[in-house]
């Protein structure tokens, strides 16, 4: 019996192809059961996320199993035969290693992201409940989860935020803890401020105030985010109550000056205030950052922090691979009997 993996991901297929193979979470169990029910296939797990769809199966004849699965998928998706070029086909140790890399976040679009661990676990659980797994896949998946946990515990592959929005949100949490008691003001209803504010809301920020030169646009964005619109000449009043200010106005000169913040300090009782300036040219006078209770971060600083986190994660890849190697080597798992030279991230054994 051989462990096999047939899949496509963000590296091998564009979104218009990936979306045709996507399986909704509620149907993962059924899909796994259908896979295991195919002739010559004894076990199956289907993983489907926005970046990948992968089929893990156990079969005695790899060529036949791949052919059968691909024909089934071609028929189901009604795509041209050339779509097969997007698939990677992995066998035995390569498939196990790949699963470990996926679970550890090494194969993800955002290196080291943690969400994939839960998604794979959910897919496996669905297959298990559907009765589509048995000895081989149960052992492989359990081991892969163990490896994934070890990689995350023993390396810093998941440390630091890799996008400007997440860096800003992490900083807000470092300043205010739970954001459920925090209020946010957006100056300028641009796309970046909308994304950042949405991240804050998703982490629990209590309320959002939107101030924009075009009041209609402020109303629109406020409605979209479940917040309140503020006339642009009234933002100083709102400053007295908010904890976070996200600014991205497109104005050619600074709009928030030290004097504006100084005026609000007494009313705020000198509580901490976090300014996120994602505008170019900057909206907030750097002198604002000199005020004791103010933490000011501009786009360059946020971008630099995100870049540093990305670099640090990349430096961890080798260590992660070593852990995977060691874990796979010391366990006589089915499909791992063949010594396998370490592969780079994203490399696949295509047949």
């Amino acid at each position: 019996m051989k462990l096999l993996c047939l899949g496509l991901n963000h590296r091998t297929a564009p979104v218009e192809v990936r979306e045709r193979f996507a399986v909704s979470t509620s149907k993962l169990g059924t899909a796994a059961w259908e896979l295991a029910a195919m002739k010559g296939i004894s076990e199956g797990v289907v993983i489907s996320t926005c970046n990948r769809t992968e089929f893990y199966l156990v079969a005695p004849d790899a060529r036949m199993a791949f052919h059968q699965l691909e024909s089934y998928l071609a028929e189901k998706t009604q795509l041209a035969a050339s779509v097969a070029d997007h698939f990677y086909r992995l066998e035995q140790a390569s498939a196990t290693r790949h699963l470990c890399q996926v679970v550890s976040g090494l194969n993800s679009m955002i290196l080291g992201e943690t969400e994939i661990f839960g998604q794979v676990k959910q897919a496996y659980q669905a297959a298990l409940e559907a009765g589509a797994t048995s000895t081989v896949l149960n052992r492989i998946f359990q081991r892969a989860f163990g490896v994934g946990k070890k990689v995350r515990t023993e390396t810093s592959i998941q440390h630091g935020s890799t996008s400007v929005g997440n860096v800003a949100v992490d900083l807000a949490e470092k300043i205010f803890g739970h954001l459920k008691d925090s209020e946010v003001m957006i100056l300028g209803a641009g796309e970046m401020s909308r994304i950042t504010a949405q991240s804050l809301v998703s982490r629990g920020a209590r309320s959002i105030f939107v101030a924009n030169r075009s009041y209609d646009r402020a109303l629109e964005l406020a409605a979209e985010m479940g917040g309140s619109a503020v006339r642009f000449d009234e933002w100083q009043t709102v400053l007295e109550r908010v904890d976070v200010v996200i600014s991205s106005t497109g104005c050619p000169h600074a709009i928030v000056h030290r004097a504006d913040v100084e005026k609000a300090r007494h009313a705020r009782k000198f509580r901490p205030l976090f300014f996120i300036d994602i505008a170019v040219p900057r909206d907030i006078d750097p002198a604002v950052g000199e005020i004791e209770e103010v933490y000011l971060y501009d786009i360059d600083t946020l971008e630099q922090l995100a870049e540093e986190a990305r670099s640090r994660r990349h430096l961890q890849i080798e260590q992660c691979e070593r852990i995977i190697d060691a874990e796979l080597a010391k366990l006589q798992l089915p499909g791992c009997g063949i010594p396998n030279p370490r592969k780079g991230i994203g490399t696949t054994d295509e047949h």
């Binding site: 470092k174 803890g177 000198f270 209770e293 922090l305």
Partner: protein, 258 residues
């Protein structure tokens, strides 16, 4: 026996301190510090029990006992506050202070080798000593929270966000809330200690007692003023922290000489 217990308490706090610092340096949470500190506290309690039994009064009769009692109250408040307000890193900062206080107590001459037995203790006198030292335990912890805030504030201001310490420090707002609560707790206990001090008999060494009481009242008023300003007008985190640290150092200095 009592010295051995004190030595054990100091070593346990030292291990907690070193382990905690190492963990934080590597960017991990210092999970074991709380265990070492709890063990150190058990030894402190055993030490204070033995001394209390010998003296037949609250063991606050020499500088060594005062320092151990202060370390005990510091450990007690850390164990209460650290877990309650998710600021467990407070232990990593408290443990060195406990080690310092207890090491001083272990120096020759600081702790009476032959503690004198007291026939009868005055209730107000003992209440004054015990609550005052408990208050300084809370105020010491407030000062430590202040130091933690100052470190975090500097890192956030200067955008130095990569250290293990930064990752492990609790959020600014939680630190400030804990700091303020500890100040209120310390202030409340100190108020009770001052009242007990006023009510205790002052027939012997009148000048010495009066000087001590005046110093205590001055420190108490400073703390009350700080809390009043924070509650009414408001205060930046940096100033509140600096005042908490400064007043604690001042109080230690004052009582070392008065």
């Amino acid at each position: 026996m009592d010295r051995w217990l004190l030595l054990a308490a100091t070593l346990l706090a030292l291990i907690g301190s070193a382990g905690g610092m190492l963990a934080v340096h590597h960017g991990h949470r210092s999970r074991s510090t709380v265990i070492w500190m709890a063990a150190a506290m058990a030894c402190q309690i055993a030490f204070l029990s033995i001394r209390g039994e010998i003296r037949c009064v609250c063991p606050l009769k020499d500088n060594g006992e005062i320092l151990v009692f202060l370390s005990w109250s510091l450990t007690l408040f850390y164990l209460l506050v650290g877990s309650a307000y998710r600021i467990s890193l407070l232990g990593v900062f408290s443990a060195p202070l406990v080690v310092l206080f207890q090491s001083i107590a272990l120096l020759p001459g600081v702790l009476d080798a032959q503690p004198k037995k007291f026939d009868e203790g005055n209730l107000w006198h003992e209440m004054h000593s015990a609550t005052s030292v408990l208050a300084y335990g809370a105020l010491a912890l407030a000062a430590i929270a202040g130091v933690m805030f100052l470190v975090l504030d500097r890192q956030l201001k200067e955008h130095h966000l990569q250290s293990g310490l930064f990752r492990n420090l609790p959020p600014v707002r939680e630190l400030l809330v804990s700091l303020e609560r500890l100040l209120w707790l310390g202030g409340g206990l100190l108020t009770f200690g001052i009242l007990a001090g006023v009510l205790m008999p002052h027939d012997k060494q009148v000048l010495g007692h009066l000087g001590h009481l005046m110093a205590a009242i001055t420190i108490w008023m400073c703390y009350l003023l700080l809390l009043a300003v924070k509650s009414t007008r408001g205060l930046t985190g940096r100033r509140l922290s600096l005042w908490a640290v400064g007043l604690f150092i001042l109080s230690l200095g004052v009582f070392a000489f008065v």
